[in-house]
Symmetry: C3
């Protein structure tokens, strides 16, 4: 259970301004927030995943955020709404006691180039290094140990957690959040083979990150070879994702951890890409496409929908080994079926004659 920052809130206070209906007592006092299976008395909890519906009857919580369809079965106070996960996100803010960076402080150990233009309201953490001609807009937070390359621009209220690295010339939008270990603007992977050796192709573009983008820990985004690598506004990237040079990701697309996106791929708006997927280079994925986890996308996708590849479902190894061996002889199996079909045809003709 996460306790409230102040002593307590009523359900009415927590839901003020939100599009919800309260079933039960709006004056019920809430002192913490919890998952449905672990909730104690005094907690508000939520039901957004049907896997957890079974806990509704027995939860000790004092209130549950849930959808209309579940309200009937709810034995306690219910905060009924169309989008319980969104409402939960808003209410959870009341219980967020995590420390915040103090605005307008620059740690004495930070190394800030004289030509940098850092707004007075920006927080600059210890041991940051801010390069020449960098511009950082109001209310941004630069965590300890960040290195910001020359000529980079960081938008209003952007937040870089500790140990983020931005190369030169990168453009970061407003309210962008970069987690620790993120690297943006590293050279794209471009090498030309000449007489057996690989020669570097200068990477002259940069990276543009739109407003309200969130990027997870240790994710890397390479700068473009000539054109920029572009991350659209509202995009959410999880941890350990690789975005290669010249990639374009459309607005409001979300991508789960460990995904690799090869060079010059273009991904549409409002897409969802599952963990460990691999997107080939130089292909285009249209808007509103869902790619399931572990899928390898090797060709362009031109119609919205859900797409998959790979083999899903782990099975006992002995069973797997048999099917795997059969896979490697699928062409052979097909030829045997063709032979059977010809044989049957022949037998039939003989019988009919």
């Amino acid at each position: 259970m996460i306790s409230a920052k102040r002593l307590q809130y009523t359900i009415a206070e927590l839901t003020k301004g939100l599009d919800v209906a309260i079933k039960g007592d709006p004056n019920c006092v809430i002192t913490g927030i919890s998952s449905i299976q672990d909730a104690q008395q005094g907690c508000v909890t939520f039901l957004t995943n049907s896997l957890y519906r079974k806990y509704l009857e027995t939860t000790l919580a004092s209130a549950v955020i849930l959808a209309e369809a579940d309200a009937e079965a709810c034995p306690i106070n219910a905060i009924v709404c169309k989008n319980p996960y969104f409402v939960y996100a808003q209410i959870a803010g009341y219980f967020n006691g995590r420390p915040a960076a103090s605005a307008g402080t620059r740690h004495i150990s930070a190394v800030i180039a004289k030509s940098a233009d850092v707004d007075a309201s920006v927080h600059v953490g210890a041991n940051c290094v801010i390069g020449e001609r960098v511009k950082i807009a109001a209310h941004a937070v630069i965590g300890a140990g960040c290195v910001i390359g020359d000529d980079t621009e960081i938008g209003e209220a952007a937040c870089l957690d500790a140990n983020v690295t931005l190369y030169d010339g990168v453009k970061i939008g407003k309210r962008v959040h970069l987690s620790s270990g993120v690297v943006i603007g590293s050279d794209g992977f471009g090498f030309a083979n000449h007489q057996g050796g690989w020669h570097k192709v200068p990477q002259l573009g940069t990276v543009e990150i739109g407003d309200d983008v969130d990027i997870g820990a240790n994710t890397t985004i390479d700068r473009g070879a000539i054109e920029n690598t572009v991350i659209g506004k509202g995009v959410k990237l999880d941890n350990l994702i690789q975005v290669a040079h010249n990639v374009k990701i459309g607005d409001h697309t979300v991508i789960a951890g460990c995904v690799g996106i090869a060079g010059s791929a273009v991904i549409g708006k409002h897409c969802m890409i599952g963990g460990s997927a691999l997107i080939n280079g130089h292909i285009t994925i249209t808007d509103n496409v869902i790619i399931t986890g572990n899928t390898g996308v090797s060709k362009s996708i031109t119609e919205p929908g859900i797409y998959s590849s790979g083999i899903v479902g782990a099975v006992p190894n002995a069973e797997f080994r048999k099917n795997n061996a059969r896979f490697h002889r699928l062409e052979n199996l097909m030829q045997r079926v063709k032979t059977l079909e010809a044989d049957i045809k022949q037998l039939r003709e003989r019988n009919d004659s």
Copy 2:
């Protein structure tokens, strides 16, 4: 060959206190340690992988650590034991000449909050940043460039290599070892969709790392949404692993590199997970499960055993392309087999009538 820290040891000295039998001369002098194929005279080596048994006859080593089953065939001094890899690990310690951090030194460049409680025996490297109310217990080592968030607790003799990032409120057990680039406590990937845009869900939990955990370079572990992300004691994680929010990993489980573990997955004790596996969210894997490399686990596993998915075995591309094309028409192949079965049945009946 790695040379001994001091001039030399006898086999008897190296094996003192270990559960081994010496076959040959316990006073044989050892001056270095080496792999079996590269060993020179004076070296101790080991045999733990049957792939290398062929070198036993010709090795120039002066002694070999091996199992009873291999002792008969060993032409040189043998250190015979039940667990040669474990015994090798102990003996290798005598040859470890790598530099160690000096206890009780705090580099002048480190930035340590006044409210932090750092034991006098702790080593604090150059350019570390240690936040408010952090507690670091005796004999811990904090490498250069680490950033430790507010309210974090680090157990006795824990060792953070250079450039590790811990967010606020993280709990690190005793004797934990974190490699460079590790990020622990970054926000979980939680966003609620509202009218087409994604809105951040506050991540209010933290991360608990049990005693004797080892975490590889650039691995990331996100903090829980409400409950904590929990890594059990003795867990070993390799490099570049993504552990999402709310995940629980049971004691003594080992996970190889590049694995992705999605949110709220629960992994049992004493499991082994191969490289590049992907574990879906909200599933449970019981104790003593082995997952082979590259496997995608999409459903809960309730019985111990070895589990696999995917296609194993790289083959020449031309052959692969045929089988891959056949895979994409497997349903069609199945229908053709069903037709054949019906045809045969019909032909038989005709023949029988």
Copy 3:
């Protein structure tokens, strides 16, 4: 479009010393470089990927670098050569206006051990930490926030971008380029099981990086257990790659992002490995092997060629689910085909008798 560093160059100037033929006007003035689809008048562009040939007729560029085969169809000035991508790489250098580190400067905030031997021409960025007995040769660049472990050696003109971590004893060749977040020399993943717990195996080797190696952001290379992990000269590694202990990678091999290479794997020279591939431990891949993306290599490869595994090609999820289900019953399908074959044989014999 990337503008020229100085005002302008003629085609003749840009191609001086390169093995090209100019078709059209060598005195044509070039003011920028661009991709073929976005080129404006005054730009030089290039054609190296047949996907983009369709733009040749309509591009607004003033000159195109291309191969003999495309020269005929080129309506504008052409820089004709055998290897357009390599020639483009050379010409692009004229348009590289990115800031360079100033040689021979050591930032006052850098922490350099007294016993370190750092050439006077080396650039040392802010907040670097350079350990005992480190040797850094002429013209190297050490970016801000790098941590260099004791006894490490860095070759002439090597370049470490910001926030790179090298452990103790690592050897870096000449002209090596390490991107931000790279970790080299972290402990290999070696643990011996003893009575249910995992015990660390000391990792006594180190890492050797050959001349002209390039390593992408957040890639990790573990030190050897006894022998060194070795990256051959001219090797190019993309972002987020995991190279485990004792691995050897042959000269001039290129490896794309998100690849995992397990312990003691040996990869030949001039290989190309696609994104997200997984190479098993203790196997050998010969020279001149191409591994396509997402492939799992579980056995040694002894002949040059192109190798693949997995399932390629994302398809609509409903279709995929059917084929995936059939895969899991492939063994059953095979048995049914065998039964059919026996039945046909029997029917035939009956008919023939």
